[in-house]
């Protein structure tokens, strides 16, 4: 590695610790009041943004991946399932937006798993803070990634001819619903990120959950064409509820029952997996 050359710098000055300088920084000023839960969480969110700044490659999964998903499925299924790819896109875009963003939530667990392997969480956990702040902040950072992915997909959709009947407000409403649900769903992955031993196993479990959840839904086709037992699953699948509500809002109508169920699922996932996550986090 190039450690030596990068660390010594042009004019290596040898550091000599000075008692005077050290005792100045050790002097007690008044210790500040501990930050509020929100402020601590936002600070951890800022950390996530700093990491994006230093490692911008990590945005590939929220930009390239969704674009590929939209193009692939629009042209793969478009002709077969609707009259043309363009007609299919009108039906399909909200669904693929949900699918892509919900799939991206799994990186929250992968990221936490790798992050916690390093020592930095030890420091966070010895700070006198509202305990969930580090994880909430991490998910705040991820929420920005979700928004970015959603906007990218929408952009591709608009370029291919998708026309949302609900206009700007409808689109914002749809993305809002999606982000709320994804925030909640991220807690599933923080839990697995803490429970499972390696990044790979987090990936494995995520795929096992996400594939059936996103495909056995109303994202790609109308559930009316499915056998009864499958329809039963599709009906209770939270992704179905979410897609139905996002689709409705973006097309300028509303689906009160689906929206309510999507929000109930969001609240439930946050509470249940938030508590499980914090239980694990405190006991590591």
């Amino acid at each position: 590695m190039s450690n030596e050359t990068t660390t010594t710098g042009p004019a290596p000055t040898i550091y000599v610790p000075s008692m005077a300088a050290l005792s100045t920084v050790l002097a007690h000023g008044a210790r500040p009041r501990r930050p509020s839960p929100l402020s601590a969480s936002l600070t951890f969110g800022w950390r996530a943004l700093l990491k994006v700044k230093h490692v911008p490659e990590q945005l590939v999964d929220v930009t390239a991946f969704p674009i590929i998903m939209v193009l692939m499925f629009t042209y793969l299924f478009g002709g077969a399932l609707a009259d043309s790819p363009r007609d299919y896109l009108q039906f399909f875009l909200p669904g693929i937006m949900v699918t892509s963003v919900v799939m991206i939530t799994m990186y929250t667990g992968v990221g936490l798993n790798t992050d916690i392997e390093k020592g930095v969480f030890d420091r966070f956990r010895t700070l006198p803070l509202w305990r969930p702040a580090a994880l909430v902040g991490m998910i705040f950072g991820d929420v920005l990634r979700y928004v970015l992915a959603a906007v990218v997909i929408l952009g591709v959709g608009l370029a291919l001819g998708f026309r949302p009947g609900g206009g700007l407000l409808g689109v914002l409403g749809g993305i809002g619903l999606l982000v709320v649900f994804s925030f909640a769903f991220s807690w599933v992955w923080t839990f697995f990120g803490l429970v499972l031993r390696s990044e790979k196993s987090v990936m494995g479990v995520s795929m096992m959950v996400l594939f059936p959840l996103t495909f056995l839904s109303n994202v790609f086709v109308d559930p009316a064409t499915m056998p009864g037992w499958l329809q039963a699953f599709v009906k209770v699948n939270p992704i179905t509820q979410l897609v139905a509500s996002v689709r409705a809002v973006m097309s300028g109508t509303s689906d009160a029952s689906s929206t309510m169920w999507a929000l109930v699922w969001s609240a439930g996932l946050t509470v249940v997996f938030g508590i499980l996550t914090m239980y694990r986090y405190n006991r590591r």
Partner: protein, 338 residues
Amino acid sequence: MSRRNTGLAIEAEGLTRSFGATRALAGVDLQVPAGTVYGLLGPNGAGKTTTVRVLATLLRPDGGRARVFGHDVVTEADAARARVSLTGQYASIDEDLTGLENLVLLGRLLGYRKPASRERAQHLLTAFGLTEAADRQVKRYSGGMRRRIDIAASILNTPDLLFLDEPTTGLDPRSRSQVWEIVRAVVAHGTTVLLTTQYLEEADQLAGRIAVVDHGKVIAEGTPGELKSSVGSGTVHLRLRDPGQRPEAERLLRTALAGSVQLEPDPVALTARVGGHGSDLDASKQAARALRDLARAGIVVDNFALGQPSLDEVFLALTDHPAVPTEAERDEQLEAAR
């Protein structure tokens, strides 16, 4: 519990903790006086890191209890956290961020407003000689700089108790002495430091008292002087000119010194422990007498050195096993460090 009237920064009684089938802590008792450097000395896998993690509120003990300035580390963890800081064995900073960003982040998390935390970060970077590296990602730092930014991060909150888990392992000699100077400055300021180390020399240099840890228990405790004299006050290393004279030299040394004599693999080398238990002569006098006896017997000594007992020798004397961890112990330590 009041904080100050006991004068103890740490009180631990019977701490136990297992990871699966391995017992990392088998009943650790500690009493660390406030305002001192206290050394936890032991080989890899002895339970040092696990002890520190329990005391720093990162790990719950299975049994026993521990208080930090009177605050129970399990039931009053938040009050304990407000007064401690940890520099772990593995960098407890975000390597993707720059040095400055790390310190500003921590300042914000401690409740400093943005300008104040920037200012505090700049002061710390100056005091730790890292001003030039302020805007470089920590992953590009050298080992010594990494340690310094880590310790700087740990004193950002002006802790009353600082945990340093093997702060100099893997550092070059200059970086090591820089860390020692920093520790001296920190304790001169009144902060209590709990330091773990595998090196007797380091504990000797810095610590007022030392607990020797092995297999999850404290097996000896005292000042560095007390510990060393319990082992013998020093070790003599000899190299003879003529390997044929070694048996004779061994016999003479055994008589002259109260300690044991060991034959090294090198046929001309011997190692002898000076001043066994309860000897009242100081080591240099005993060694001088041994040298005189050898000279009188006509044994030519090419090389003679009187040194402190090594950790290995302390360990051999205290436990009858060398300070080398088994495979299982190493695994357990990795587990504990996770």
